[in-house]
Symmetry: C2
Subunit: 325 residues, 2 copies
Amino acid sequence: MKIINANDMKKSITDKGMIDSIEEAFFVYAERNFTMPERLAVKHQEDTMLYMPCITSGSIGTKVLSLIPQNPERGKPLIDGLMILNSREDGTPVALMDGQLLTAMRTGAVGGHAVRHLAYQDSQSIGLIGCGVQGLYQVKYACSERNIKTVYLYNASKKDLTSYIEKIRLETGNPSLKCVICSSARETALNSDIIITATTSKEPVLPNDPDLFQGKCIVAVGSWRPDMREIPEAVWQAADTVYTELPYACEETGDLAQPLKSGALKEHQVRYMAGYLQDIKDGNGEALGSTRFYKSVGMSLFDLVVATNIYRSAEEKGLGTDISW
Amino acid sequence: MKIINANDMKKSITDKGMIDSIEEAFFVYAERNFTMPERLAVKHQEDTMLYMPCITSGSIGTKVLSLIPQNPERGKPLIDGLMILNSREDGTPVALMDGQLLTAMRTGAVGGHAVRHLAYQDSQSIGLIGCGVQGLYQVKYACSERNIKTVYLYNASKKDLTSYIEKIRLETGNPSLKCVICSSARETALNSDIIITATTSKEPVLPNDPDLFQGKCIVAVGSWRPDMREIPEAVWQAADTVYTELPYACEETGDLAQPLKSGALKEHQVRYMAGYLQDIKDGNGEALGSTRFYKSVGMSLFDLVVATNIYRSAEEKGLGTDISW
């Protein structure tokens, strides 16, 4: 069995390779030849274990995450965990990797994949609302797809972003990347060609002003429960269509469930990425509206395909630690 | 994170320590302070992944098993997998061990625990029906609780048992243990003070003759589905009571579900081990009938408590491999 820790995971795969893996996952999704049950949550007292299995014709994988609400106040990450890959042939465990980093990398790459397909080619700036780990990886992968000159940052709690900016420059491999701390979400959105939200908010984090969004690409990854929401209704006035992953997303995230319920968003405006990609492949690509909006809730199929490709790359490059098992 | 492979698992804990762990698990069960959902089975094509999580006030653990029906014909084990332990404090993964061996060891120790409490002190012989991995570990732990002189063996398919007998002598640490291959299940049962069944049979593997069981201790571990059965109805004529783990066992195993349905076994005859142990602790121990029958279906709480103790012992003894994570 191969142990692939965070360092080796990062060395094994390129940013473009990650985004290609997300695209690969969408094509596996389109083929429907997989088993991906709803994630299993096991709660005891305040703590939760989450199990996200997925099996395709080529891979077996399971992400196992812990969610310990008391961790942040102890200076530890809320979510931790690991990803297990089993041999598709005989079921034996073949690889183990950092589940926390995998989540951040694949969520970042899903955002990067949205940028690849939906952002204007000449996009030069990103506005990030929510300066946490997820946001860092959103910026990393968005920067790999467009020639980004400036990143505008806004975090609701006024924490010191000095080391965060260093991390952005390190992760994007661009030590001279211009990073500007904004005093409001409005200022961030106003300045940016690509707007990314990566918060745990229960209320919209952007002003309810359609002019702010017109002609831009918006990627929202924060709301993963029906009671969480980042996006104001004004986005629906600017964007004709929301691109997302799978029908379940319409129930899981407040960013879709709430406007679908209120009628601000109609079902026919929801477009699934797998179908969109298939149409492009078939030569039936559609014209995009001037404002492009992508909402991600994630799925374990992403983890599986990404982890499988990280493992293959680690094998090729001799990364990871082989342990006797 | 510590990787504890099969060799290190065996070195870390004594046979008595394993059986003590099972007893500890029954007391945790009695306290009801745990979360143990039904195991999750995820099937794709013919293959299945099984997830068995459990959380107590002291530990978090998950057994992840693969079940690949084509494996046996390729000379590989049907079931493989691993056990993950997470820190109860902050959720980080702390240990990983061989899930296949853990299953065999803990199932063996559950049988050994039944022998500790239910077998006559002067029991000198074991009859094993079903000479597979599970049977091997049943004999190992039964031998640690009684002064066993002879093991009688019967396997329905007439395979060569030479190397199996070597394994029994190795696992019990008794190179001169007498092992006798029998030509029938009847002969095996007739000669043995303790009868153990560890098969995958769908029909009773013992003759339907109450005289064969009178005054003996019977431990059945094979039937884990309602359509599987090892025990004939005659056992209910010989034994007043069946000892087992938890109410769910009455539904899960054909050995209990079928006679409860036919009326051969009445609900009041089912006794849960946790309650039995608590009564002993409280000084209210009951008189055992002359024939004692234990039926095990297992539970993930056993895996969790056993794995936690293996991990602690490995820490103390410096066993396992610490990996940078």
